[in-house]
Symmetry: C2
């Protein structure tokens, strides 16, 4: 697909507010593939994000080959151990329909079939001299967020994972990531099995303040 055709492709209009409010983590996908043109459209949205000095220090690696998918699966498998420990997740009984059981089932299911996710994108960022490691994230995670919103608006479900840290050496090796680039995130996505609900978040009043840490911000005070 040419750049021109990506840029002019008819995108169904999507309401920004509704998209942001329902861009939930998705862990359960149908077997349907994600068309490359659609991925490219979401990646183009990623490029529209800001970065320090507009340097655009990003590279997006779409992972499809058996070798790349092995590294993805390895990262998932190692991450599952940590996640299960951290959240004290146990494999739920087959008949358990509680919210926690459903969550646990989707976590185990996703991690154990990670090689087969419909699509996986590794977000890489060039190391920037004189930029703190935290602030370096300001030049890659806005791009990732644009990508997630574009995916949501296209009907796709996505999940940010930390699998790239659990299998960093293997991913670097198979993809050939240069030493002066960092792995920032591994996002998996596909067509969601379930409907999107709104996100669950703390209210603004609890997470904002005016001038000093304890003073409520009046725009959000009850």
């Amino acid at each position: 697909m040419s750049q021109a055709s990506i840029r002019t492709a008819a995108q169904p209009p999507a309401d920004l507010w509704g998209t942001m409010r329902t861009a939930r983590a998705c862990r359960s996908f149908t077997a349907d593939p994600v068309p490359a043109g659609l991925l490219a459209r979401c990646l183009e949205a990623a490029t529209w994000a800001p970065s320090g000095g507009n340097q655009q220090p990003w590279r997006f690696a779409v992972l499809q080959s058996p070798g790349a998918r092995s590294a993805v699966a390895l990262g998932a498998s190692r991450s599952l151990v940590t996640i299960a420990e951290t959240y004290r997740l146990t494999r739920p009984e087959p008949g358990d329909g509680s919210r926690r059981a459903r969550m646990a089932r989707s976590v185990f299911g996703l991690h154990e079939t990670a090689a087969e996710v419909p699509a996986a994108v590794l977000f890489c960022t060039r190391k920037l001299p004189h930029v703190s490691p935290l602030l370096a994230g300001a030049s890659i995670y806005p791009a990732m967020q644009n990508f997630l919103l574009a995916a949501r608006a296209s009907g796709l479900g996505a999940l940010i994972t930390g699998w790239h840290e659990a299998a960093e050496a293997e991913l670097r090796e198979t993809v050939g990531v240069p030493a002066d680039w960092d792995l920032a995130a591994l996002v998996v996505l596909g067509w969601p099995r379930n409907a999107f609900g709104p996100v669950r978040r703390k209210p603004v009043a609890q997470v904002s303040c005016l001038d000093t840490w304890q003073q409520p911000f009046i725009g959000s005070a009850d």
Copy 2:
């Protein structure tokens, strides 16, 4: 304003794609204030972002007091030195209407009047154990990006600055940021003096790859 009224406030619909494509950095604002309710709406959009384990390790400090604004101005003034050096910016002649001169003029203008920006928000993030400094950004910069998109959709212009690093001690002191929280970004915003154009970015084909670093991603190949 109550949380309920924020949540149900009539938001003019905004097209996600057009918003993302025109969310450019803005350095020149009118003197008009930004209503607190509008800031709160943009902050609510920030809360809809993803974060690791949905921990929402964020706090958004709206900076208005003279003390807080002094620290903002100090950060801007110190940053200007670095920026002018890095980009070899010199104060343009009054009659110079070139693109570079206009850019330089807006950079000097913004940094030298930083205390008077219509609005300034400090994005803070709680230090997360067992999370790398880069990956910690994945739990705050998506929120910042949602905030920027919400601001753009509301007609506001915004700029991500690194002023919080240049005046970290002073900002921590005046705001009272706890030691176990990091400063992630200082965003300034207001009503833009000029029209929004589309962002300028490298094409997807140049910044994406398939499986290996040098292999073009077919969805974006020409």
